[in-house]
C-alpha cells in the first residue's frame, strides 16, 4: 500500500544551497546544501553537532540562515516562521515534541485553527488521515497518556492535517523500541511512494540504508557527500561520517597502570518515570587511575548511565558499587550544578552541604575559593562575585574545582566542554588527565567522539541503552556507537 500525502498535494523539489549559519564564534553550517527530490526519502546523516538539525530548522523557518538560498520547484522562498513553512507544504517533527499533554489527539491536531471547533470533525480528520496513511490513532485519547511512539504519530498527523507534502523527521527512531522504529520506517517508505517527500535526520546507518533513496552526509557543518543510495556502501558511509581515520589507536596513554576497582555496575537496568528502559543490563567497572570514556549518539542512555555511576539516580534493577562521594559535573551546569545568584564562595560550599552541621566556616571557605580560583585558573572578580558574573568557561572550571578538591575517589563528567572556547576546553580536559594521574577513577562522556578518544584510556561504546564491544580505535568505536555490526 502506498500512501499519498493527504490533500493529494504533489511534493515540490526542495533545494537548499550555500547555507551559512553562525552561532556566536561557532560556524555551524559552512556552505551546506541539499536537494530533496519529490517522492523520495532523503537521509541526512552525521555525528552529533554535524549540522543536520540546524540545516533542516533553517529549511522549516525556525532559524534564519546568515547566507544561502532556499527554493521550492526552483522558485526562491523565504520562510520567516514555521507557520509560513507549514503554509508552503512543509512539515517538521522535532525531537522534542510540541504537544499539549492534557488534551486529546483530535484537539492537538486541530490546535491553531480558526472559527468554530467541532470535536467530531477534528476526530474525523484524525481518522481519515489514519485510514489514508496507516497512522491509526484514537482521536479521543489524551496525548499525555500515549506512549512515545503514539505521540510521534500525533506529531506526524498534525503535519499531515495541514497538507504537508515534504515532511522533515528529526531522529524519529531515537526514542522508539525496535519494532516501533521498524513500523515508522515502513510508513516513511510508503509516504514517499505515494508522492510525498521525507527528510530523515538520523545517525543510525542501518535505518538510512534501509529506506533512503538519497543520502547526504554532513561533517562539521559541511556536506561530505550527497548521492543516491546505490552509490553508497556501509563502509563508505562510516568513512564519510567519521572523516579521516587516524593511524593507530588515538587513546592517550596513561602514566601508570590502573589500580583497584572504584566504580562498578552489575547487570544494571534503569527505566525512567514513564517506564521506558534507558539503560539495559549494563555491567562495567572503572578502576583508580583510569579515564573511561563513554561514546554514544544522543538518546542511547548515556546520561542515565552517568547518573547511575554518580549516585544521582537509583537503578531499577542490578547493583551499583560506588564510594560514598562521587564528584559529578553535569552538562547543564546552570540547572544542575551552580547557584547563579550566589557568590562563588557559596557555590564552592555547596559540596557536601546536605551533611553539613552547625556554622558555616565562611572565612576558611573564602580562602579556599580564592585558592581554588588561582589553582584552577578561574577568572573572576573574586570569591564574593556572583556565579552569574563569570563566563561559561570559568563557571565550568569552578564546578570542576569544587568537585575535585578535596579529591573524591571517583569523578563522573558529562559534556564538560559544551559551549567553551578552545582554551577553556584544553584547561578542562587537562584537569581530567591530572585527576586520573592522581589516582581518581574518571568517567568521561562527550558528544564529540574525538574528545572522548583523546582523553580516555578505555572507551565504552553505548548503543540503545547497552554497552557494545569495540576496540579502542576511532573506527571501531564509531561503528559500535552507530549500531553497526563489527
Amino acid at each position: 500500500m502506498s500512501v499519498a500525502p493527504p490533500g493529494g498535494r504533489r511534493a515540490p523539489t526542495l533545494a537548499l544551497t550555500g547555507i551559512l549559519k553562525r552561532f556566536g564564534p561557532t560556524l555551524a553550517l559552512d556552505d551546506a546544501g541539499v536537494v530533496i527530490r519529490p517522492g523520495t526519502v532523503h537521509a541526512l546523516l552525521g555525528e552529533n553537532g554535524a549540522g543536520k538539525s540546524t540545516l533542516m530548522r533553517i529549511a522549516f523557518g525556525l532559524l534564519a540562515p546568515d547566507a544561502g538560498t532556499i527554493t521550492l520547484d526552483g522558485r526562491p522562498v523565504h520562510f520567516a516562521s514555521a507557520a509560513a513553512a507549514l503554509a508552503a507544504g512543509l512539515g517538521m517533527v522535532q525531537q522534542h515534541f510540541s504537544l499539549v499533554p492534557a488534551m486529546t489527539v483530535a484537539e492537538n491536531v486541530a490546535l491553531g485553527g480558526r472559527g468554530r471547533f467541532d470535536a467530531a470533525r477534528a476526530a474525523a480528520v484524525v481518522r481519515r488521515i489514519g485510514e489514508a496513511t496507516g497512522l491509526g490513532l484514537d482521536p479521543g485519547a489524551r496525548v499525555g497518556e500515549l506512549a512515545v511512539h503514539a505521540q510521534q504519530r500525533v506529531e506526524i498527523v498534525k503535519a499531515l492535517a495541514r497538507d504537508a507534502a515534504v515532511l522533515i523527521l528529526d531522529e524519529p527512531t531515537a526514542v522508539l523500541a525496535p519494532a516501533e522504529a521498524h513500523e515508522v520506517l515502513g510508513w516513511v517508505r510508503r509516504f514517499a511512494e505515494g508522492g510525498g517527500s521525507i527528510v530523515l535526520i538520523t545517525h543510525k546507518l542501518a535505518d538510512a540504508l534501509a529506506v533512503a533513496d538519497d543520502l547526504t552526509v554532513l561533517r562539521r557543518g559541511r556536506v561530505v557527500r550527497s548521492a543516491q543510495r546505490a552509490t553508497w556502501s556501509h563502509d563508505a558511509l562510516v568513512a564519510a561520517m567519521l572523516g579521516e581515520v587516524p593511524e593507530g589507536p588515538a587513546v592517550a596513554p596513561s602514566v601508570r597502570p590502573p589500580g583497584d576497582e572504584v566504580l562498578a555496575l552489575e547487570g544494571v537496568t534503569y527505566a525512567d518515570a514513564r517506564g521506558v528502559v534507558r539503560v539495559e543490563d549494563v555491567s562495567a567497572s572503572v578502576r583508580a587511575g583510569e579515564v573511561v570514556g563513554i561514546a554514544a549518539v544522543e538518546g542511547s542512555g548515556q546520561h542515565e548511565l552517568l547518573r547511575l555511576l554518580a549516585g544521582r539516580l537509583a537503578p531499577t534493577r542490578g547493583l551499583v558499587r560506588r564510594p560514598a562521594t562521587v564528584g559529578f559535573v553535569p552538562e547543564d551546569r546552570h540547572r544542575d550544578a551552580i547557584l547563579l545568584d550566589a557568590p562563588l564562595r557559596e557555590n564552592v560550599a555547596l559540596r557536601g552541604l546536605g551533611a553539613a552541621r552547625g556554622r558555616m566556616p565562611w572565612e576558611a571557605l573564602r580562602a579556599r575559593t580564592r585558592e581554588l580560583m588561582a589553582r584552577f585558573d578561574v577568572r573572576g572578580p573574586g570569591p564574593e562575585a556572583p556565579a552569574r558574573a563569570l563566563s561559561g568557561g570559568n563557571q565550568q572550571k569552578l564546578v570542576l574545582a569544587r568537585e575535585l578538591d578535596p579529591p573524591p575517589p571517583a569523578l563522573v563528567v558529562e559534556n564538560p566542554t559544551r559551549g567553551l572556547d578552545l582554551r577553556a576546553t584544553d584547561a578542562v580536559l587537562g584537569r581530567l588527565r591530572e585527576a586520573r594521574d592522581q589516582g581518581l577513577a574518571v568517567v568521561f562522556y562527550s558528544s564529540d567522539i574525538d574528545e572522548v578518544l583523546a582523553v580516555s584510556d578505555r572507551v565504552l561504546a553505548m548503543h540503545d541503552g547497552r554497552l557494545v564491544a569495540s576496540d579502542a580505535t576511532r573506527e571501531s568505536v564509531g561503528r559500535a556507537m552507530l549500531g553497526a555490526t563489527p
Binding site: D336, L339, L353, M360, S391, R402
Partner: protein
C-alpha cells in the same frame, strides 16, 4: 548579603519610604485635601513626639516585622506562602485560648500564650506544607483557602467557645495581666514584642548567612535542582520546614498582637498585616535584619495615615494604594534586574 549591600538596600528603603510618603501626599493633593495640613498630620502621627514613635510607629511596626520575617523565610526557600494572614489569625486565636486558660505562677500564662500562638501558626502552615509535599497542591491556592478558613474559625470562636462571659460582644474576654507582654517604656504602649521582633530579625539574618541549615534553605530557594544534585540537600524536607517555620513566625505575630496590644481576640484583629508583610519582606530584599527597617517604614506610614485621617480628614485606606504601588515598583525592578532591562548581560557562551 554583605554589609556593603545592606547599606545600598537601606538607602533604597529610605528612598522608598520617602517616595511612598510623596505619592500619598500627591494623591491627597489631587483629591483636593489640604496637603500641608495632611503632611503635618502624617509626620506628626509617625514621628511628631516620642509617644507617636513609641506607641504609634513602633507598635504598628511590630506585627509587620514578625509577619515580614515569616514571608521572608518562606520566600527565601522558594515557598510562596501568602497565608501569613491566616497563620497570624490562628496564632492570635491559639494565644488567646492559652492565655485565658492557663493561670499560674510568674510568666507561665504569657509563655503559654506565646507558645500556643507559635504552634497555631505552625499547624496552619503545616497543613499547606503537607498538601504541597503529599499532593503537589500549589502553595498559593492552599494558603489562600486557609486564610479564609482561619477567618471564619476566629469569627466562630469569638461568638462561641472564646466569647466574653456576658456573651454580648463578638470578642473574647480580656487577658489577665500575667498573660500580657510587659511594657518596654513606661507610659507608652510599646511592648516587649518589638524587642522580640528585632532580636528575631537579627538572629534570622545570622542564621541564614552563617549556619549550614540556613545555607541549605537559601540554596534550595535559589536552585533546588543544584542543591539536590551538587549539594546532596534533601530539598523536600527543607521546603516543608521552611513553610512550618514561616507559619511559626506569623503565629507569633498574632500572639504578640493579642498579648501586647489588643489583650483580646477580635474578628478584625489584623487589618491585613499578613498581606502588608509581603511588601515589607520584598522591600527588605528578603533580608531579615532589613525587615526591621521596612517594618518601620510601613509602621510609620500607617501610624501617620491614621493621624492624617483623624486630623485632616484624609482616608487612611490610601496607605493600601501606596503599598500596592510600592509592591508593583519592586516587582518591576526585580523583573528588570532578572531580565537585564537596565544592564548588559554577560555573554554566557564565551570562554
Amino acid at each position: 548579603m554583605t554589609r556593603h549591600r545592606w547599606t545600598g538596600r537601606l538607602l533604597l528603603i529610605a528612598a522608598t519610604g520617602g517616595v511612598a510618603a510623596l505619592l500619598l501626599l500627591a494623591i491627597v493633593a489631587l483629591a483636593g485635601y489640604d496637603a500641608p495640613r495632611a503632611l503635618g498630620a502624617l509626620a506628626g502621627g509617625a514621628f511628631g513626639s516620642l509617644d507617636a514613635v513609641l506607641s504609634g510607629t513602633l507598635v504598628r511596626a511590630t506585627p509587620l516585622v514578625l509577619a515580614g520575617l515569616a514571608v521572608t523565610l518562606a520566600f527565601r526557600a522558594g515557598v510562596l506562602n501568602i497565608g501569613a494572614e491566616g497563620q497570624l489569625l490562628a496564632g492570635a486565636a491559639a494565644a488567646t485560648a492559652a492565655g485565658l486558660a492557663v493561670t499560674g505562677p510568674g510568666p507561665l500564662p504569657l509563655v503559654s500564650a506565646l507558645t500556643a500562638g507559635i504552634a497555631g501558626g505552625a499547624v496552619v502552615a503545616g497543613v499547606a506544607a503537607w498538601l504541597r509535599a503529599r499532593f503537589g497542591v500549589l502553595d498559593v491556592i492552599s494558603t489562600l483557602m486557609l486564610n479564609s478558613v482561619a477567618q471564619f474559625v476566629v469569627a466562630w470562636l469569638v461568638r462561641g467557645p472564646l466569647q466574653e462571659p456576658l456573651r454580648i460582644y463578638p470578642q473574647s474576654a480580656s487577658l489577665a495581666a500575667a498573660a500580657r507582654l510587659p511594657v518596654l517604656v513606661p507610659g507608652s504602649r510599646l511592648h516587649l514584642g518589638w524587642l522580640m521582633a528585632v532580636v528575631l530579625a537579627g538572629v534570622g539574618s545570622w542564621w541564614l548567612a552563617r549556619t549550614a541549615a540556613g545555607f541549605r534553605l537559601r540554596a534550595t530557594g535559589l536552585n533546588p535542582l543544584a542543591a539536590a544534585s551538587a549539594g546532596g540537600v534533601a530539598t523536600g524536607r527543607v521546603t516543608a520546614w521552611a513553610f512550618v517555620g514561616s507559619g511559626m513566625l506569623a503565629g507569633l505575630a498574632g500572639a504578640v498582637e493579642v498579648t501586647g496590644v489588643t489583650y483580646a481576640l477580635y474578628e478584625n484583629l489584623s487589618p491585613g498585616y499578613g498581606f502588608t508583610a509581603i511588601a515589607v519582606a520584598l522591600l527588605a530584599g528578603l533580608e531579615p535584619v532589613l525587615v526591621i527597617a521596612t517594618g518601620l517604614v510601613f509602621g510609620a506610614l500607617e501610624a501617620g495615615a491614621s493621624a492624617m485621617q483623624r486630623d485632616a480628614g484624609v482616608p487612611s485606606v490610601l496607605v493600601a494604594v501606596v503599598e500596592a504601588l510600592v509592591i508593583l515598583l519592586l516587582v518591576l525592578a526585580e523583573r528588570g534586574r532578572q531580565a537585564g532591562w537596565w544592564t548588559r548581560r554577560t555573554p554566557e557562551a564565551a570562554g
